[in-house]
């Protein structure tokens, strides 16, 4: 019987070895993953018992703390504090006892110190008896641009609006503002019922202050979409260069019998203007006709190269800007004429507007927008840092050059739609290239027009620092009047801070 007992002993040994391996797996190898499971009560409960990492805005070259955890007097807990209240709320989001949003959510595992990248740091802290600490997240945000964007939106008369500013050369997000917004300090109480009450209050407000209009809401792009339409026309060879003439009647009759007219029914040059003039005047008939001729699929593929029709993570989730390939009749040329001037089903975010300009400013190369410059461990050693990456080559450098010179005329030609609002910045040595948009919307275009402006300052030696800005103001009216001044304010503040 002893031989059988020995074999059973081996079976027992095997069972214990399996158990030992498995608990090693759970407690040593899987522990970070399990700590990151959504709804992990323990990790959540203890996150306020040690110092969460700070969030820093470094876009102007110096560190500015925009979120930090401060010890609560008389307890061993920490409470999140946002020194600038509403200004950075669309970027940082909130860190509450119930959940996070914004960067607080996207970078939570690093800020909370649970990320596997911090395992070594945490282990050293454990051995040396130091307190566990989260990592510091350094953002690309420029405090000057962000503050200006916030102020400009505050003074725009209570419209819902979003602003995004990018560095076109790298993709770094310089400003990201939304109006109306909220004060994250109202949600950081460690008292659940206070958080609940304030959260309910914010959720019940009709203006939806928690909604991030810079990246989570789409608007019709209106005429700003003519950047895409003209890029497509140049690329396809339909229009040779900026001096080529285009068909631009006062009334364009569409195959289905509908009519497309210019804003206010005005005449576009002599009816066959150069494309550059049609662009600075923003003639609907010229670009509607180009769109109709090129067809919806071609126009849509160009829009995709500008970053549309795909989700984006910066790492905040950006809702996709779309030129939908639904419903089934989306290729109907009569409707494509409207798509080509940013109407029909086109929907974009302010982020996308900034990306249109950023691609043109950077010789057609669209850089992937990103917010996190680097992450610093508790010892302030860099754990990860961003490298600019190309999202796509939207257009060739030649085509980008054509569109760029057209955008120059929008702000500099006396007949350009933004000549009066964005042009004067030239006096400060800042040359802004832009495109206005005024999108009709609502049933039978019954709502107030949405104002859109996308613009950039290109990278040039000896010239002001490059920046691309997208602004959308819901119900703001004419793009050049409502949206362009906001963009100009952001650019001026940014250039002032970067004046060398």
């Amino acid at each position: 019987m002893n031989r059988a007992i020995l074999r059973i002993s081996l079976a027992c040994l095997a069972m214990f070895v399996l158990l030992l391996l498995n608990v090693n797996y759970v407690q040593a190898f899987e522990s970070s993953k399990l700590a990151g499971e959504p709804g992990n009560i323990r990790v959540f409960d203890q996150q306020f018992t040690y110092q969460r990492g700070s969030i820093i805005a470094n876009g102007d070259g110096t560190d500015l703390k925009i979120a930090e955890s401060r010890p609560v007097k008389g307890t061993d807990t920490y409470r999140r504090y946002y020194p600038f209240g509403k200004v950075y709320a669309p970027v940082t989001g909130y860190n509450t006892i119930y959940g996070n949003s914004g960067i607080e959510e996207a970078e939570n595992s690093l800020l909370a110190g649970t990320s596997p990248k911090l395992t070594v740091h945490n282990f050293t802290a454990l051995l040396t008896g130091k307190q566990k600490q989260g990592a510091t997240v350094e953002l690309t945000i420029s405090p000057a641009a962000q503050q200006a964007a916030y102020q400009a939106l505050l003074n725009d008369g209570g419209h819902q609006a979003g602003v995004v500013a990018l560095n076109p050369t790298t993709g770094a997000v310089l400003a990201l503002a939304s109006d109306p917004t909220f004060n994250p300090n109202e949600l950081t109480s460690l008292n659940g019922s206070t958080v609940d009450r304030n959260d309910k209050q914010l959720l019940s407000e009709p203006s939806q202050p928690l909604l991030n209009r810079a990246i989570s809401v789409t608007f019709p792009p209106g005429s700003s979409f003519k950047i895409v339409t003209s890029s497509a026309a140049f690329t396809k060879g339909l229009v040779k260069n900026t001096a080529s003439t285009v068909y631009a009647p006062t009334v364009l009759t569409l195959p289905n019998g509908n009519h497309l007219i210019n804003d206010g029914g005005e005449v576009c040059g002599n009816g066959r203007p150069q494309i550059i003039q049609a662009f600075w005047m923003s003639c609907n008939t010229a670009f509607g006709n180009l769109g109709k001729v090129m067809g919806a699929p071609y126009l849509r593929s160009t829009s995709s190269r500008f970053g549309m029709n795909a989700p984006l993570s910066i790492p905040l989730p950006v809702v996709p800007s779309v030129m939908p390939n639904k419903p089934k009749y989306w290729t109907d040329p009569s409707l494509t004429a409207f798509s080509a001037i940013g109407q029909f089903n086109d929907e974009v975010t302010p982020m996308q507007e900034a990306m249109f300009s950023a691609a043109i400013a950077n010789s057609g190369r669209l850089m992937k927008p990103y917010l996190v410059q680097q992450v610093l461990g508790p010892g302030l050693s860099s754990i990860e840092s961003a490298t600019p990456t190309t999202l796509s080559q939207a257009v060739s450098p030649t085509v980008a050059g054509y569109v760029k010179s057209m955008m120059y005329q929008v702000t500099h030609n006396p007949g350009g739609t933004a000549a009066l609002t964005a042009g004067p910045a030239q006096a400060d040595g800042i040359n802004i290239y832009g495109k206005t948009g005024t999108a009709q919307n609502g049933v039978d275009n019954g709502n107030l027009d949405d104002a859109v402006f996308t613009c950039f300052v290109p990278a040039q030696p000896g010239a002001p620092a490059p920046i691309a800005v997208g602004v959308m103001v819901k119900g703001g009216g004419f793009g050049a009047d409502a949206a362009a001044p906001i963009a100009v304010a952001v650019i001026k503040a940014y250039e002032h801070a970067h004046d060398t």
Binding site: M1, A4, I5, S9, N22, N24, V26, E30, R42
Partner: protein, 471 residues
Amino acid sequence: MSLAAEVSQPVPMPQNRRRSELIMLLFALVITFFAYASVGLGLKGAVPPGLPVDLIVFAVAMLAAHLAIRRYAPYADPLILPLAALLNGLGIVMIYRLQESGRNGNPGLQVTVMSTSATSFQVMYAAIGVLCLVAVLVLISEARVLQRYTYTLGAVGLVLLAIPALLPDSLSSVNGAKVWIIVGRFSIQPGEFARLALAVFFAGYLVAKRDVLSLAGRRFLGIDLPRARDLGPVLIAWAASLLILIFETDIGTAALFFGMFVVMLYLATQRTSWLLIGVLLFLFGTFITANLSSHVMERFTVWLHPFAGSNPTGIAYQPVQALEGMAFGGLFGTGLGQGQPYHTPLVQSDFIISAFGEELGLVGLMALLIVFGLLVQRGLRAALAVKDPFAKLLIGGLSFVLALQVFVIVGGVSGLIPLTGVTTPFLSEGGSSLVASWILVGLLIRVSDSARGPAPQPIQDEGMTQVVRAA
């Protein structure tokens, strides 16, 4: 050298090692003492007020067990009692920690299903367990004595097993497991004792029938299959465990019961074919019940996809809490009293091992597993060394089922295998399991005493015929 010269040499007496046992037992008591104190220090920075009474009663019980072993089983393995005492002591410490959570101004949430005197009761059960151990040592002078009661204990075992199934739910069901006998404020789990009784029955039955059972029938794929008519007992055991599974919705007990039977059958006959048949029958039974019962199917879902969809807040809430707790403990644990084991439902019984994982860390959990492993190993050693085939079979089977029980519950809690509810020996809150575990320790000690003790001495020296003292 003549034969006479050899005989005249003094026969080396086996060492009884009682002093080693005492030193190791004191070591176990000291660990328990510090662990108990550190719970209070971890919770609110003071030594628990209940510590002196609880630990004095516990220490007295353990020392009494030691003295009884000195008197009634002087050659027993010196490691068994200290190992069991350490496990029991740490179990009491963890039960105190969970009982105090959120009570008496301590941090954390209350484990509301625990009474405020859970620790005192657990200490009392430890004392009762030791009384039973002493009774085993006194009444059973040799394992063979039990062999006389083979069929009596078999019947007792089956009745104990069946009672909860026959009683109405109000007197037998707690948290969906119909394995209890509830009398007023007290409840016992007869299955824990049934397992011991049935082990005796299997050992007695198999020792008697093992020659028949090891007769080979046909040879198939290089394996000797048993004769069809000898399949009867294994089929009965299989059917009985399936009945437990269906009527008491207790997969764990069924698995332990069937596993013990198959292994003892294998030990008795040394035929691998019995193991294969047993495993196949078990898989077949699981397959059938998994398809018949949504309860069993759900266990599989929870095991495979604990984090899928709404499982973490729904059907997998308990195992997910246990896993997250263990992960939260990491390598070194949060320290006693400083974790959050109270988030896991039933953490004081089936899931107590996750609380150890959380507060003592991977290191502490591995130490606990090794203590269990050593206990099993000491049992198997005794089984190897003892000469009486009945004792061999009984202790071999019981040691295996102890290992299997630890495997089933720790493996279930840590996600290695589907979760089935069985108690963690010595650690879980509750008297039945603890007292039954101490009876098991009594049997181990009794058999290891026979195995290590001096060989029977001739009582007269009269040539070739010897009269040997039988027990």
